[in-house]
C-alpha cells in the first residue's frame, strides 16, 4: 500500500460548511484523521510497512488501553488491597496488629498502572482513593487518622466513627502516586479514646476522572 495521509488537525465548524473555500487543508484533515482513529482502535499501524503514526500509550504500546483520556475512558477498579479477616465471631482473632496510641503501619510496594501525564497538571487518574471498613473495640465515638506516604506526597485523612462495625468509607482526599513502582507507607493511629481496631479492610481505588480538554498525541 502506498503512503497514506495522516492528520490530527481538527476543522473549525466553518471549514466544512456550504460555500467554504475548497482548500487542501479540509481534504487533508478529513482523509488523515481516520487513519489516526483506526490505529488508536486497533493498536497497530494502519498501513503495512509503515510505523504507526500515533504516539505510544502510557504503558508503551500502541492504541487505546482504557487508561483514561485520551487513551479511552478509564477502567475504574481496586489497585491495592488489604484484608485482615471478617470478625464475625467465628473467625479466629483478627490479625491486624492492635492499633493504639502508637498506631500501626505497613510499608509496602505496589505497581500503579501508568496513566497519561498531562503537561497542564491534570492528572487525576494518577491518584487513588482510600476505601476502608472495619471493626473497632467499642461502639462510642472514636477519631482515627490515616497517614499515607507515597513517593509523591504525604496525605492525612481523619475519620470519626461511632459504631463497633465501621461501614465502608470512601475518602475524598485523593492519594497521588507515580507510574509504576511505588513504595507506600500507610499508618492508622487512634486519635481519641482508647480503642483497638480488631478488623480492617482497605483498598486503593482508581479515582474519578476530571474533564480533560486534551487531544491525543500525534
Amino acid at each position: 500500500m502506498t503512503a497514506r495521509i495522516t492528520s490530527t488537525r481538527f476543522l473549525s465548524s466553518t471549514a466544512t460548511a456550504k460555500h467554504a473555500p475548497a482548500v487542501a487543508e479540509v481534504a487533508q484533515s478529513l482523509a488523515g484523521r481516520p487513519r489516526v482513529a483506526w490505529e488508536m482502535a486497533h493498536g497497530i499501524s494502519a498501513v503495512s510497512g509503515e510505523a504507526p503514526v500515533i504516539g505510544l500509550n502510557p504503558q508503551g504500546l500502541v492504541g487505546l488501553d482504557l487508561s483514561g483520556p485520551p487513551f479511552g475512558a478509564a477502567l475504574l477498579m481496586p489497585v491495592e488491597t488489604y484484608s485482615s479477616g471478617t470478625g464475625n465471631g467465628v473467625v479466629p482473632a483478627s490479625r491486624w496488629r492492635t492499633v493504639d496510641d502508637d498506631g500501626h503501619g505497613a510499608t509496602f510496594n505496589m505497581w500503579h498502572r501508568p496513566h497519561a501525564q498531562h503537561t497542564d497538571g491534570l492528572g487525576a487518574l494518577q491518584k487513588v482513593a482510600l476505601a476502608w471498613s472495619g471493626q473497632q473495640s467499642a461502639s462510642t465515638s472514636t477519631a482515627w487518622r490515616w497517614t499515607i506516604t507515597t513517593p509523591v506526597a504525604e496525605v492525612t485523612i481523619d475519620r470519626t466513627v461511632a459504631t463497633t462495625a465501621i461501614t465502608l468509607h470512601t475518602e475524598t482526599t485523593l492519594i497521588p502516586l507515580r507510574p509504576g513502582d511505588n513504595e507506600i507507607t500507610i499508618r492508622l493511629v487512634r486519635v481519641g479514646a482508647t480503642r483497638t481496631m480488631n478488623v480492617l479492610r482497605w483498598s486503593f481505588l482508581t479515582a474519578a476522572k476530571r474533564r480533560h480538554g486534551l487531544s491525543f498525541p500525534g
Binding site: 488501553d65 479515582a207 474533564r211
Partner: protein
C-alpha cells in the same frame, strides 16, 4: 442501498490531498468507510475485527496488574513445627492470575522483611514460584511450572520471577513457595515477614508529558452535542457516485462523524469542542463514563475484553496440606501471624472481606474463583462456597485440583452485583452434613474478573 464501510483500512494517498489537486470522491468515501469500519469494530461483536484488546490488531493490551496486595503478616518457622512451619516445611501462598488473550508472560514480585533474616536468607530458605492452571496443579499452560525466585535487596528482600511462554489464556495459580532448609542452622526460630505481593505484566513505566493541551486546533469544531455518547450518521454508497459533486454536505457530515468517533473512543474532546462534557466529574464515585468503556453494561453488544478486577491471597498452607496455625490456638491480634484456617459451621458465613469497585458490565459477565484448602483427606464434598457482593449467592461445591487433593477450586459466573459501585466482596462458606476436616477449612484465595 449499501452503507459505506471498510472492513480494512483504505486511507488516501498523499498526492490525492495535495494543494491544487481536485478533491476526489474516493478521498471522502474512503474516509467515511474507514470511520464506519472502525466504529463497527469498537461497537459490535459481529464486526470484522472486534476490539477485544488482544494486542494483535484487535486493540492494545490493557496492562492491568493482576495482584497488588499488602500482606503485612509474619510467617514463623521453628524446628519443632509448632508454629507456621517446621524446620523443613514448604509453605504455599496462592494467587489467581487471569491471563488475558495476548498476554504471554507474568512478573511476580514479593517483598519480605526482617533484618536478621535478610542477612542469611539463602542459608535458611529457598523461595520458588509455581505457575499452573487453576484446576490442574501439574499443568502450566506452556509456561515454566516451577522456578526458583531471584533474591535481591538487603534489609528487605525482593523475590522475583518471570513466567514466560504462556500459550493458553485462562485462569492460573501463581503459588509463592517458601521452603525452610534451616536444619543445619543454629537459629531455632525463623520469622519471615511477608510484606507485599505484586503480580503484573512486563511493562515499561510511561514517558511523562507526551499528552498536551492542543491549542493549535480551531474552535469551535463540529462535534456531538449535549448528552450524546456517540454521534455517527451513516452515508450511503450512492452519495459517492462517480462524477457526482462533493459538497459541503459531504464534508460537514464526515467531519462530524470523525469528531464523534474521536470523542467516543478517546474520552477526550475533539479539538476544542465546547459542547463536550464528562458526566463523571464527581470526585470519587463517578457515574459511568458515557463514552466508550467496555465495562459499561448499556453497551451490551460491544466487544468486551477480559478485565482482571481483584485477586487476593487470604492465607497460606503447607505443601503437604497441613495448616499454618491451629484453629484451636488461633493467632493473637498483636502477632499478625499468618493465616489460620476457618472452622466452618453449617451456617453460611462471610469470610475474607475485600473492598472492591464493581464494574458496570452486563449480568453474567462477572466471573469469580475461590480456592480453599484442607488439612487431611476428608475431601470437599460437603463444603460449599461462593462470593457475595449483594444478595445471598448460590453456593457451590469446590473440586479438588488435579495433583493436589488438599486444594480445591470453585468458580462460576453467577453473581449478583450493583454495577459501578464500591462494595465489600466476601467469600461465603458453609458445610453440609457429612464427613469434614475436623480442623475446618482454609480460605486461600479469591478472584473476580470480567469474562466476555
Amino acid at each position: 442501498m449499501a452503507v459505506v464501510k471498510s472492513t480494512s483500512f483504505q486511507g488516501s494517498p498523499m498526492v490525492d490531498v495535495d494543494p491544487d489537486v481536485e478533491t476526489w470522491q474516493r478521498v471522502l468515501r474512503n474516509a467515511q468507510g474507514d470511520i464506519a469500519g472502525t466504529l463497527d469494530d469498537l461497537t459490535s461483536t459481529a464486526a470484522a475485527t472486534p476490539i477485544v484488546h488482544g494486542g494483535v490488531g484487535n486493540g492494545s493490551l490493557l496492562g492491568i496488574p493482576w495482584v497488588s496486595q499488602c500482606l503485612d503478616r509474619t510467617l514463623d518457622f521453628d524446628t519443632g513445627g509448632a508454629k507456621d512451619g517446621g524446620a523443613t516445611d514448604t509453605v504455599f501462598h496462592p494467587w489467581f492470575v487471569v491471563v488475558e488473550p495476548g498476554e504471554t508472560s507474568v512478573v511476580v514480585e514479593i517483598t519480605i522483611g526482617n533484618a536478621t533474616l535478610a542477612a542469611n536468607f539463602a542459608n535458611r530458605f529457598v523461595p520458588r514460584l509455581r505457575f499452573c492452571q487453576a484446576a490442574d496443579f501439574d499443568t502450566a499452560g506452556g509456561a515454566v511450572l516451577e522456578t526458583t525466585m531471584t533474591v535481591s535487596g538487603s534489609l528487605r528482600l525482593r523475590l522475583s520471577a518471570t513466567v514466560t511462554g504462556i500459550t493458553t489464556p485462562g485462569l492460573y495459580l501463581a503459588i509463592f513457595m517458601i521452603e525452610s532448609i534451616s536444619t543445619s542452622d543454629s537459629v531455632s526460630e525463623l520469622t519471615c515477614e511477608l510484606v507485599d505481593c505484586v503480580i503484573r505484566k512486563k511493562r515499561n513505566k510511561r514517558r511523562r508529558g507526551d499528552v498536551v493541551r492542543d491549542e493549535t486546533n480551531p474552535t469551535p469544531v463540529q462535534a456531538p452535542t449535549g448528552a450524546a455518547s456517540l454521534f455517527h450518521q451513516s452515508m450511503d454508497e450512492t452519495l459517492f457516485t462517480a462524477l457526482d459533486a462533493m459538497t459541503g454536505w459531504h464534508t460537514s457530515r464526515l467531519d462530524r462523524n470523525i469528531n464523534g468517533l474521536m470523542e467516543f473512543m478517546t474520552g477526550s474532546p475533539a479539538g476544542t469542542n465546547e459542547d463536550y462534557t464528562h458526566t463523571e466529574d464527581a470526585l470519587i464515585n463517578p457515574t459511568t463514563p458515557r463514552f466508550n468503556a467496555p465495562n459499561r453494561k448499556v453497551h451490551s453488544s460491544h466487544p468486551l475484553p477480559v478485565i482482571p478486577i481483584v485477586s487476593h491471597c487470604h492465607g497460606g498452607i503447607k505443601r503437604t496440606g497441613g495448616y499454618l496455625v491451629s484453629p484451636s490456638t488461633p493467632a493473637s491480634v498483636a502477632a499478625r501471624r499468618a493465616f489460620a484456617p476457618y472452622p466452618l459451621v453449617v451456617t453460611e458465613l462471610d469470610y475474607g472481606g475485600l473492598t472492591v469497585r464493581v464494574p458496570d458490565v452486563p449480568s453474567g459477565k462477572l466471573s469469580w474463583a475461590i480456592l480453599v484448602g484442607q488439612s487431611n483427606a476428608a475431601g470437599f464434598a460437603n463444603v460449599r462456597v461462593a462470593p457475595r457482593l449483594t444478595t445471598t449467592p448460590t453456593m457451590v461445591t469446590p473440586t479438588a485440583l488435579t495433583g493436589a487433593t488438599y486444594l480445591a477450586l470453585a468458580q462460576g459466573t453467577t453473581l449478583d452485583f450493583d454495577p459501578d459501585e464500591i462494595a465489600s466482596l466476601f467469600s461465603r462458606m458453609s458445610l453440609v452434613a457429612g464427613v469434614h476436616d475436623p480442623l475446618g477449612y482454609c480460605l486461600l484465595a479469591t478472584c473476580l474478573w470480567v469474562q466476555p
